[in-house]
Amino acid sequence: MHKMRSLFAVPYALWLLLFVFAPVVLILGYSFMDINGHFTLANYQAFFSSSNYLLLTLNSFWYALLITASTLLLGYPAAYFLTRLKHRDFWLLLVILPTWISLLLKAYAFIGIFGIHGGVNQFLNLFGIPAKQILFTNFSFVFVSAYIELPFMIMPIYNSLVEIDQSLVFASYDLGANKRQTFTKVIWPLSLSGVNSGIQAIFIPSLSLFMLTRLIGGNRVITLGTAIEEHFLITQNWGMGATIGVVLIIVMLLVMSLTRERKGDGSR
């Protein structure tokens, strides 16, 4: 029986080895190579001594934070009200529906909406407000990214909210807590696990968004993703690209471990 069980594990082990560990090891290996394939530490030195790269890192963090914060701000109340609705499944479907559409298509749709002659500006024109430049601004970049990521924030929060035993909420009221206290002392702590996975699901990919930075941001917002793309595709300096990748991976691990710690506190 035990043998059988370890046999079942083989595909998963292979999968992890081939598609998780091997690429990470490859990236790590490349990050110690210069253009000619010789061992070097120069890539890391270049990264940490260049104000450009540090500024890029700061930029990436700042925008990832903005995107995560806005999705949380919009997503939590949305998830909360979803749990209160009559036809939950239907509304949930509406939330998930946009994720079925290609990211590229959604980005192009926003180009149409935000353009000088687009829907938003035409609407503003009705009230005599002259056309504004909305595309290629930091605002439009954060807005579109947040829109695209929003379902990934709502889903986990919704799931954790649904799991909360309603009798706990009633107990809280019975014991004299008001609405606000019930929320901060009972509902919020119990939904923290959902918030954590939402943050992880959004913050990490947001660090390396690069297609949206070009399409919606007009390369006004530059993140680490842009730099990685450039190093792998244009300058062919895979070492430097991999170094940025390694830095990103380390950052992701940090974020994961930070959010995990909080989860421990929540279930205490």
């Binding site: 450009n52 000088i116 002659h117 430049q133 595709l233 244009i234 300058t235």
Partner: protein
């Protein structure tokens, strides 16, 4: 559980039906593996009607794969694991691929119609005597403007882009060589400059261009300009002609300081599986009627002089797309500057992009 099983069963069923359909279709048209020609080309860079015509004439099946940058194409072919019979690199990339032994020699004995190509487009420095490549299209980098907002005299020099009237208006093609090239041109330096001091000088100058740049983008510029989201753009001539076909207010100008002239070439990559098919395709594209049809569809400038004769005189005599000899003399082809210099260009470019 029952629902789930039904859903999964449904998905499997759809896959099976579609798969069988495709298999049936492929069998019907009598296509087998040995009779395919794998073409690796830029997106939307070959009239689909010509692919059909080629398939009908020769019986080969065409697999058309696309890339969006020379470098992406280079990386994919260098990595191996591909079976492309035809690729279409630009000039400097052709040079680099020859240097790195990624392309096969082309036997001129097997070519039909190389003499259709104008002599000005043969024997260029990136591939002397065309041992490895056959010209496909050529063009320039220039400025597109919308005549509702500006006129030709506003953009006839690169240096005029710095004018405050363009504040937050210019769309720029996303490329380090192109961006720094504009800076270098304003000083009269070569587009292939490698001196660090000159590059820094160009960068300093370009920093002042920052406030005038609306966006740095790629293919999307076409759409933005046609929709009048942008009023002026620095773009390639071919892209410009597509925009102009959609919006008659757009015009293309080659600035007086001179500019980059580029050549895209058909090569046979190392990965070739079907050499006969590759030659058949090259010869097919060299035929004047096909080259003319392709030119009408793509809108780039054709190096095929016989094809050019078949195009309307309004196209042939358009100095923006078929510039005079005097204009051509001021233009430069990008050379492969080597990895180190390319890195330097891109580092400076990244800095310019970031601190706008």
């Amino acid at each position: 559980m029952k629902k789930l099983r039904a859903l999964l069963l449904g998905i499997v069923l759809i896959i099976a039906v579609l798969g069988a359909g495709i298999w049936q279709l492929q069998r019907k048209s009598g296509m087998s593996g040995a009779k395919t020609v794998n073409i690796y080309n830029w997106g939307d860079y070959l009239d689909p009607a010509l692919i059909k015509k080629f398939e009908k004439e020769t019986g080969y099946k065409v697999n058309y794969d696309t890339f969006d940058s020379n470098e992406a194409m280079y990386t994919k072919i260098k990595q191996g694991g591909t079976a492309y019979d035809i690729a279409v690199p630009s000039d400097y990339m052709t040079q680099k691929m020859i240097k790195d032994h990624l392309v096969k020699k082309i036997s001129h004995a097997k070519l039909k119609g190389l003499d259709n190509i104008g002599s000005a487009y043969l024997n260029l420095p990136f591939d002397p005597h065309n041992r490895y490549s056959v010209p496909y299209f050529w063009g320039t980098l220039g400025i597109i403007y919308n005549d509702k907002y500006y006129q030709e005299s506003d953009v006839d020099h690169w240096a005029k882009l710095w004018d405050p009237k363009f504040a937050h208006q210019i769309m720029f093609i996303d490329g380090a060589r192109e961006y720094l090239g504009v800076g270098l041109s304003t000083f009269g330096y070569s587009l292939n400059t490698t001196e660090h001091a000159k590059l820094l000088q160009a960068t300093a100058k370009l920093k002042q261009l920052g406030p005038n740049i609306k966006a740095i983008a790629a293919d999307e510029i076409k759409m933005y300009m046609a929709d009048e989201e942008g009023r002026v753009a620095v773009e390639y001539s071919g892209e410009a002609s597509e925009m102009m076909a959609e919006n008659s207010h757009l015009h293309y100008v080659i600035p007086n300081e001179g500019t980059n002239v580029w050549f895209d070439n058909i090569v046979i990559p190392k990965s070739v599986q079907n050499k006969k098919g590759a030659y058949a395709f090259i010869n097919f594209m060299l035929r004047p009627d096909n080259a003319a049809q392709n030119t009408r569809y793509i809108g780039y400038s054709t190096p095929n002089k016989r094809a050019l004769k078949m195009l309307p005189s309004s196209v042939r005599n358009d100095r923006a797309f078929y510039p005079s000899k005097a204009q051509l003399r001021k233009m430069e082809v990008y050379e492969d500057l080597g990895a180190q210099k390319l890195q330097e260009y891109n580092d400076l470019y990244l800095e310019l992009k970031m601190k706008r």
